[in-house]
């Protein structure tokens, strides 16, 4: 029921959706996050810890499954080097009821941004390299679920 994955391979949204959805759930909510090319971004690199990052995703998925009555939950995060347009993260949550699927999906993407060991580094076309800073708005959204 819970499927969590972290790796450097491209995320195939349609294939993941098909795998997630084999049960034919009443209500399915999804979130897809992509690399934005704004500001001359050339590469986005996601740093992670091979063991602890996956453990953090699993803990988050288990928390969602404990909070809501879910039929299936998929949480996939890509790491390593990515180009604008690439999919970084995919969240799929299904339930008999739409409210639970929607809430779980939003919870997972919000808390992912503050609770899981992942760090974004941006490289721009002009050669500039910068680590992405934590955003106060992300922290505020994550704290709604405390």
């Amino acid at each position: 029921m819970i499927r969590v994955s972290v790796g450097a391979a491209a995320i195939d949204v349609a294939a993941e959706y098909a795998a997630h959805d084999s049960g034919g759930h009443g209500a399915s909510a999804s979130f897809v996050g992509r690399v934005r090319g704004a500001g001359g971004l050339a590469e986005l690199f996601l740093e992670h810890h091979p063991l602890l990052t996956e453990r953090g995703l699993v803990a988050l998925a288990e928390e969602a499954a404990a909070r809501w009555n879910l039929a299936a939950l998929t949480l996939i995060h890509r790491v390593g080097a990515m180009a604008p347009g690439d999919t970084i993260v995919l969240v799929l949550a299904s339930s008999r009821h739409r409210a639970e699927a929607l809430a779980a999906c939003e919870f997972l993407i919000d808390r992912l941004k503050t609770d899981v060991m992942l760090w974004k580094r941006e490289t721009f076309a002009d050669g500039r390299v910068a680590w992405v800073e934590e955003r106060g708005s992300d922290r505020a959204r994550a704290e709604r679920w405390d």
Partner: protein
């Protein structure tokens, strides 16, 4: 006691290494103590840990605060606030 310290992101870059094993000096009991000790140890530490409020830590895969006791954790990870998703 030997402690493995793992660094990530700009903390790793400023320390110039991804991990090290240190012998904990007496008086370093908490994560906060460890950060202060590293900041005082050398120039790289001073640069990486100049702003302790921007440092996060994990032990055993779970995020912990500066007051967390290191005890016999064996490994502590130090890093900037996470920015995934």
């Amino acid at each position: 006691m030997a402690l493995e310290i793992v660094y990530f992101a700009w903390v790793r870059e400023r320390m110039g290494m991804a991990a090290e094993t240190v012998e904990l000096p007496a008086g370093v009991a908490t994560v906060g103590d460890l950060v202060r000790w590293l900041a005082a140890r050398d120039e790289r530490g001073a640069r990486a840990f100049a702003e302790p409020q921007r440092i996060r830590a994990a032990m055993g895969g779970a995020m912990v605060g500066p007051d967390a006791a290191i005890g016999d954790a064996g490994e502590v990870a130090l890093f900037p606030p996470v920015t995934g998703g």
